[in-house]
Symmetry: D2
Subunit: 308 residues, 4 copies
């Protein structure tokens, strides 16, 4: 079941291999220049901060369908332990086991491969169990701070939550730009709101996961044209699930991560941000979304914050 010609056509148009040199490992993050960051700083007006991560807990978004992507198992290794003797200062320590893509996270560039390749044309086989990602590990994404733009598609289209079958198209994104009274610029991080995460917040974990609204196969070209640095949204699947073309699963992942070298964020909670932006009447802000620097990681939990 090879990937169809439609996919390869788009792939050719959005491909960034070699654009930042053969040695490049971070793709579109190169678009975040110092100038972009200064522009982001100018977007801090009220000083209001909105966190975008879901709480990390056993009762997380994973339902067990994706093998190995386990919700956080958080345990105490010490509880009020008086290491230095009775009546001294006591410590409580904890540990966790979790899938790096289990909660609110970034997909690193090595999270998917297709046709035997990862970003910048490197062999997929450079990802191994012991070496993990030899190239483009998530620790290479050293500082993800840029201008963020909330593309509130649900609000722009008059929905509280997009219907499950709604594939977010370039037209939707432009409607959201219009609502935001801004144009997405090179180096921006685009946050696309569908409202799908309301399902999880209401306790409907299965319904949150599948079927799900999400980005259309047509979206990557739009992001490529706008030259965004990264895209995140409020779904588990990122792109529409099931897909628009039968049996073509995860084409947006392949286009974003492999062809463009563009990180993706999933399970971002954009509900509070949507309210804040609507209240303040503006949809741009400084966004800090630092991955934890797992060496060779194919992704990372992230606790993003929008500073309005």
């Amino acid at each position: 079941m090879a990937l169809p010609p439609e996919f390869h056509d788009i792939a050719r148009r959005v491909n960034n291999w070699g654009r930042w040199g053969e040695a490049d490992e971070i793709g579109t993050l190169n678009l975040i220049t110092d100038e972009v960051v200064r522009g982001a700083a100018a977007d801090i007006r009220s000083g209001r901060r909105v966190p975008l991560a879901l709480p990390l807990q056993q009762d997380g978004v994973q339902t067990g369908v994706i093998p190995g992507r386990v919700n956080p198992l958080h345990t105490m290794v010490a509880v009020n332990l008086e290491i230095f003797g009775p009546d001294t200062v006591a410590t409580s320590d904890d540990a966790v086991t979790m899938g790096l893509q289990a909660g609110t996270h970034w997909d690193g560039l090595t999270h998917v491969s297709h046709s035997g390749r990862i970003y910048n044309g490197r062999p997929a086989a450079s990802v191994t169990a012991h070496g993990r990602a030899a190239f483009s590990g998530i620790e290479k994404a050293r500082h993800i701070v840029s201008r963020g733009v909330l593309l509130d598609v649900a609000r722009a289209r008059g929905f509280d939550r997009l219907p499950e079958g709604h594939a977010v198209t370039p037209e939707d994104l432009e409607a959201a730009e219009e609502l935001a009274k801004t144009t997405v610029r090179p180096g921006d991080i685009a946050l696309v709101r569908t409202g799908q995460i309301q399902r999880y917040l209401a306790g409907e974990k299965e319904a949150y996961a599948f079927p799900s609204s999400g980005l259309s196969l047509r979206a990557p070209e739009w992001f490529h044209a706008r030259d965004v640095a990264a895209v995140a949204n409020d779904t588990l699947t990122f792109e529409i699930f099931p897909p628009e073309i039968e049996n073509l699963w995860m084409p947006v992942h392949a286009l974003d991560l492999v062809e463009m070298g563009m990180q993706q964020g999933q399970n971002w909670n954009l509900e509070e941000l949507s309210e804040a932006c609507a209240e303040e009447g503006r949809y741009t802000f400084l966004l800090s979304a630092m991955p934890e620097p797992f060496v060779g990681g194919a992704g990372s939990p992230v606790a993003p914050v929008a500073v309005l």
Copy 2:
């Protein structure tokens, strides 16, 4: 071995219990107001970003001395796995087991207790193995973004790295303020550089851990007077180890976390930031240092970034 009168004297002077109400769970983070954040935004001038986290890997800073505080065990749960059949898009996923205080991290307010109490006078027994922290869990620290100030004590005192026995005193902190040509303000996050982390970076893990320079027992009062929101440094122990008063272990932890309700950061790599600040001739910046929101967590890994 009860805590000595010297400790209790200082404790009384820096105590913040009730200051933000009986229900408060975040302590000095309350000092980060919208206005403080707007001030931090004004400190973004060049747009340069400096990450402060150590890489997360098996060969981390832990030596096995602290039971249960394990370095990250990062494993792949899928490597180029073609979930949807041959020649389709393939995924690589990973998982981790790690101590939340193992690498670059925040100590949450429940990380230590003394005399049966945690911050705001709550019983230490409110921290349990299953409920974890019922109050002041790290997920309550929703958004840690503020003005950061690098107090480069090593540089101010003419050292590349402070000698192991050097307890960082209020006088040292003021020398660093002078170097920085700034005064620490309410709501600031103070980053205190000792240079001790050079030991770890040079592969000397045991020497990094102990003995270690670090904050003096006298430092918390200074931070209390300045009303900082949080303090982090580049050591494993945070405070001087072994301590200044025999058998009085971890007094700074107890003063900061329990009495003041002030989060502490450890194992922050301030070397690149020190160079950057020296080059730019300024030591203030916007600091984003979001903990991962582990529900009931006594701490969290953090990937801080300074935006200059």
Copy 3:
């Protein structure tokens, strides 16, 4: 909601506290004497071996209902890794994260407490997050090898699988003894077959877990009278779920583990053994069921084997 008088009445009758001395930590395992083991050896006739553990895998019996009791997450930390250079001998290593009570397991004596006590009258508070079980940790059960007896209640009562609501009573156990043409003796390990595990084996995980047939509140007295060393069965809940007396949850656990000091086994797959015993026309054998010696463990996975 204190435990009702019916419970305390039985508790008094089956209590073994002090029976093997105040210092005892292993309870009824004391009943396995060298003589009992010699008797078990005499029950090896054909040399046929039947394993009783379920495979350890992500798709295990846990459904997520019991917080923290996670199915095994088994990952590779090395795959054909040539540690000593190219074309040398290569190694593959793996690691696991799992709940100790997640699969086929023994409940250790500290797995439950009631009225503030564990076995032998020790305080429940002797179980802590860092010290784990100070007494009666699973590592104290040094060698569990004895005569095993299959009490095939389902077969004796003419069922392939007992109905969910069937509480296994002393009368059922005696019917199974009759089928087995044996009498349970002091030091024996009794394996009680309900057939409930067929539900899991058929992929019906939820139905396997609840509601479930299992031991009646009346069973512990029978085991106490017979002086068995341990009891295991083929259910997740061990005892009938929901319980026979409203709101009296887990009384059998409390009677077995706390009062008698008798280990319990759960999720043991007795299907193949049932066939083997029926074929050979005998229901006794040498049983080896060694727990993994987790220091302070409240339980352990076990891979039991019956040697017929």
Copy 4:
């Protein structure tokens, strides 16, 4: 650095590929017949049981030298938790993260490969991060119960502990047979005692690991001639470390696991067994050594027990 001719010569002589059919996945475990087990039962005379596993704890044998082979991190996920309300029966549950080869363990047949092959000529590439071992996973070793023979080489050679540089040769093994007044038979499991584990028991973890006495490159042929089912010993490295031929690392692993299809046990504590056998004047017994059935596992912790 290809494997030298000496290695390939021995490999040819001990090779068992195809011996039990092309589909075979368990190698020399096939030698444990019902008859062998009946013979083992006859070796139970006193009924004394001797456990052979080291306690599982953070302070285990691993020193951090082997990446990812982590000592057990054992944590509580519940401590006296009253799930069903106040004053009800309370439960304590635990979880673990550990390397499967970290403590007393079996190496499964896929633990090593050489020249691109695993046992029975299958491709090494059949071991993957997600599928783990497609063939010969440790769960295929369904029931390891057989006659055990203690080959107490240290005692036979007049040592409390063999010198570090002592490679255990066929002559040593025969001296141990003589001491044991037995001949190793087809299907036996041979336990080879060097005394090296005394180092770990004395707290000298580094010295335990390296350098270490262990099996000579010449030992596999002897085991092959005797047709043993499996071999275990009381070292971390199993074979002599550093090796007898320069740069030929782990040849015994490769011969045993790949060529013969014979499982190996490491870190088995044979000290108490050595005393027991000397006291009883006999060195054979029934040995039960069931691996935990990790699906696709390259090894497993094991809690072996000798029944004398």
